[in-house]
């Protein structure tokens, strides 16, 4: 029995460590800032970070398949502006939302196509994608566009009570993010697409020779990331009720940092979505601590995320070394 526990710890070490860091960190912060002990403050993490979570989920898939998607934050910004502008033009909001998703999916798939078929570095393609999306956002509008549409307003303010926590609530879009999160866990573990993604991330050549659909999977992975980004964009515009090309200026980096903190290896093939959730929560906790403190300057967020990322990489390396020793 003990052996099995030990094995479990070793196999899931990084994930457990991420969770541990979050729990302990949040607990300590709660002792320092008693306000953080309120359940609502905890659930605010899901409200404030719904978009980041969505982006990070897509990013996790991309990173597992040994790619990178730098266009996610720009796609988010483009989605906010595009939907705000369309709403201004009196397009039906229920048409806009699917339209935005289609835009995200097709743009992601297009990027995936260039990466897979034309063999251009993912890094470069999605970087260009990022420039392109932000540029398009600025072309649509240089300034912030407010959303006055009643449907968006009511959706954006739609509270969902957390059962068992009294008046504690999250917003509807947080629930959507959680649903996507659960779906992503299922996809990664229980579908051929998900497992192929892991196989490609480890060794594309092998995956191809195993007869797995490498091209289709990779293109789909980027399409999924595009889907998550545009969904994140819809969530973002619901939360802020406006659209602006400058929104989320470095969120792709936050997403990558969350993915890394969650134990996903940037070399591909190893990782999972659950870890990513906790990576996002850690990120969110740092931000809320800064808000509660008030005297700490905002740049400590950046330094904090940087230091934590370094810490997590160290932990990953330790576990990998441990794993190797065990195997030999």
């Amino acid at each position: 029995m003990w052996n099995r526990i030990k094995l479990f710890l070793l196999n899931n070490g990084t994930l457990l460590f991420t969770i541990l860091i979050f729990v302990v960190g949040y607990f300590i912060c709660g002792r320092i800032y008693p306000a953080m002990q309120k359940p609502q403050v905890f659930f605010n993490l899901f409200i404030n970070n719904a978009s980041l979570l969505l982006l990070a989920i897509g990013m996790t898939f991309v990173v597992i398949s040994n790619g990178i998607d730098l266009s996610v934050a720009s796609m988010l910004a483009l989605t906010t502006v595009a939907s705000a502008a369309l709403l201004k033009a009196n397009v039906n909001p229920y048409v806009i939302m699917p339209l935005m998703l289609v835009m995200g999916i097709s743009f992601g798939a297009f990027q995936g196509f260039i990466i897979q078929r034309l063999k251009v570095e993912a890094f470069v393609v999605t970087l260009m994608g990022s420039f392109f999306c932000r540029g398009m956002a600025y072309i649509i509008s240089l300034t912030s566009v407010t959303i006055t549409d009643p449907v968006y307003k009511s959706l954006g303010l739609q509270k969902v009570l957390i059962p068992g926590f009294g008046k504690t609530y999250v917003y509807l879009y947080s629930v959507v993010a959680i649903i996507v999160f659960l779906a992503a866990i299922y996809i990664a573990k229980y579908t051929r697409f998900g497992r192929t993604m892991y196989a490609i991330g480890n060794n594309e050549q092998s995956a191809r020779l195993m007869g797995l659909p490498v091209e289709r999977t990779r293109i789909l992975v980027y399409a999924f990331s595009g889907f998550c980004s545009s969904l994140g964009g819809i969530a973002f515009s619901l939360a802020l009720l406006s659209g602006y090309g400058q929104y989320a200026p470095t969120m792709e980096m936050d997403a990558i940092a969350s993915v890394v903190m969650g134990g996903t290896l940037l070399t591909g093939g190893v990782g999972n979505v659950i870890g990513t959730l906790f990576g996002v929560l850690i990120n969110g906790t740092i931000v809320s601590v800064l808000q509660f403190n008030g005297t700490l300057s905002s740049w400590w967020t950046r330094i904090g995320v940087g230091v934590l990322t370094l810490l997590f990489i160290g932990i990953q390396m330790l576990f990998q070394l441990g794993g190797k020793k065990k195997a030999s």
């Binding site: 299922y186 573990k189 229980y190 579908t191 051929r192 497992r195 192929t196 892991y198 196989a199 991330g201 480890n202 060794n203 050549q205 092998s206 995956a207 191809r208 020779l209 195993m210 007869g211 797995l212 659909p213 093939g269 190893v270 195997a327 030999s328």
Partner: protein, 505 residues
């Protein structure tokens, strides 16, 4: 219409790569229930032919008939769908996912929701593996198992879930030990009796004669012929592969006698109880001037490990290493280089050549490393050095500015040799210098080793081919299970060594 006995036949296959005629009008036919060896030197076109049969490459000309019908194989996936499965030397599976997934992925059992049923998958995978006599925990990532196990997993995948009618084994035995090889042959015979056609590619002649029914020989991209194994003498086979006589081999035994007798004196290199935990047991080795010491042992017996410790790839944690009687205190390739030790590593592609550098740059690399960052060898001098060694070692190339990756295996090996000879080492460690290179180049390299010993250098010669070790070495040391187990003089025979390696004595 009578069913043809051939499951797979290719006619007139021609394939040209930029600048190279890889295959020219090659025929190949495989019967049901036979093991068919595909033989040829490196560059003969074996792998290109396999690639054409499995859809990795498209032939420029020629037809492929499978199961009595003409087919065009579009992709590896398509090949598997119609029933042609391939297992490569470097196992092409994914090491990060579980064994079960590696066996089943693409044919995974589904649950009610269309989800992967992990329970069923693990059960089925374990069951199929047990058919080949492999009992392992299928939920573990494949990467933690040995290459032999990985190969069995690959074969299981090919057979069980692609209902393969043709199985292509591309040098499957080169990283297997004797026992594992036997296990593989048992599996091959079993499959043969089930009517599966097997294409078997190997460099080991013994294995060809042990397990195959027919042999097809290719040479320089051309079809030489197909023979019944039982009626083709070995000499004839080699002659066919080389397209020349094998008398070259005779020269060698003569050249060995030319080597001056080794005189006992100050050892050039000596290890005293040198070892490293979980890597190599404490080992004593002594190397004299002019001497060639052969290291024999199975893969993983500790021979490469010993070489790596001496060369400073790994740092020993017990014992000491003496060079010319002086104790070595810091271990790194650079230190070894300065101490006059050179290592031609086992894995030529990954640890030897720098493929995208030119031959000249590859040759001067170690010398330049010794000179350091700021004492740059002038270009003209570089060319002089490169030209000298290209001539000396007979490296076949139009110019020293060719990229090394474009050379054949044997020539690449010579480039690595040149790189080290340019540093004028006292001790040359050759780890499998002749693996995967053609017989002609093999002989030349063996000759060179003996010449070097004659010129006052010392060599440690590591090889899986006993015959070769015996031919080149003054003494043979045998390793087993990370331990030095025996030492023999020049007069030992291969039977004795083989038994020592296997641990029967």
């Amino acid at each position: 219409m009578m069913e043809t006995p051939y499951i797979l036949s290719a006619k007139g296959i021609t394939k040209t790569f930029p600048g190279v005629q890889a295959l020219e009008n090659v025929d190949f036919s495989l019967k049901r229930g036979e093991v068919h060896a595909l033989m040829g030197e490196n560059g003969a076109g074996k792998s290109t032919l396999i690639k054409c049969l499995t859809g990795v490459e498209q032939p420029d000309k020629g037809t492929i008939e499978f199961d009595g019908a003409a087919v065009v194989v579009h992709s590896p996936q398509h090949a598997q769908e119609i029933g042609i499965a391939t297992v490569y030397q470097e196992v092409n599976l994914c090491t990060n996912i579980s064994v079960a997934e590696n066996v089943m992925l693409g044919h995974e059992p589904k649950g009610v929701l269309g989800n992967i049923s992990w329970k069923k998958m693990n059960e089925q995978a374990a069951q199929s593996l047990s058919k080949l006599g492999v009992a392992i925990d299928v939920t573990k990532p494949l990467g933690i198992y040995s290459v032999a196990i990985q190969q069995m997993v690959a074969i299981t995948r090919a057979l069980e879930f692609q209902s393969a009618k043709v199985l292509i084994l591309d040098e499957p035995t080169s990283s297997l030990d004797a026992h594992e090889t036997k296990q593989l042959f048992d599996v091959m015979r079993k499959l043969k009796s089930e009517g599966i056609g097997i294409v078997f590619i190997t460099h080991f002649l013994d294995q060809v004669y042990e397990v195959t029914d027919r042999i097809t020989v290719l040479r320089n991209g051309r079809y030489v012929g197909t023979f019944e194994t039982s009626s083709l003498p070995r000499v004839k086979l080699i002659a066919n592969m080389l397209g020349r006589s094998v008398s070259d081999l005779d020269d060698l035994s003569r050249s060995k006698q030319k080597v001056t007798k080794v005189e006992a004196g100050q050892a050039v290199l000596e290890t005293k109880e040198m070892g490293k935990a979980n890597y190599l047991e404490p080992t004593d080795l002594c190397l004299q001037k002019n001497e060639v010491v052969g290291l024999a042992g199975l893969l993983g017996s500790g021979r490469t490990e010993l070489a790596n410790l001496i060369f400073g790839i790994e740092t020993p944690d017990t014992g000491e290493l003496l060079i010319n009687g002086k104790k070595v205190t810091s271990f790194s390739p650079l230190d070894s280089l300065k101490n006059g030790i050179a290592l031609c590593p086992e894995d030529r592609k990954a640890a030897g050549i720098v493929g995208d550098l030119t031959i000249r740059e590859n040759i001067i690399l170690a010398l330049q490393a010794r000179y350091g960052w700021f004492k740059f060898i002038p270009l003209q001098k570089q060319y002089e050095i490169a030209d000298r060694y290209i001539k000396l070692l007979g490296i076949v190339t139009p110019s020293p500015d060719q990229l090394t990756k474009n050379l054949s295996g044997g020539n690449q090996q010579k480039v690595i040799l040149a790189r080290w000879l340019a540093t004028d080492p006292q001790v040359l460690i050759l780890d499998e210098p002749t693996r995967g290179i053609d017989v002609g180049a093999k002989t030349e390299i063996q000759k060179l080793v003996l010449d070097l010993a004659g010129q006052g250098k010392s060599c440690i010669f590591i090889s899986s081919e006993l015959e070769e070790v015996l031919r080149c070495s003054h003494r043979v040391m045998v390793l087993r299970d990370h331990k030095l187990v025996a030492e023999f003089g020049e007069e030992v025979d291969d039977q004795t060594i083989m038994h020592t390696m296997a641990g029967d004595l």
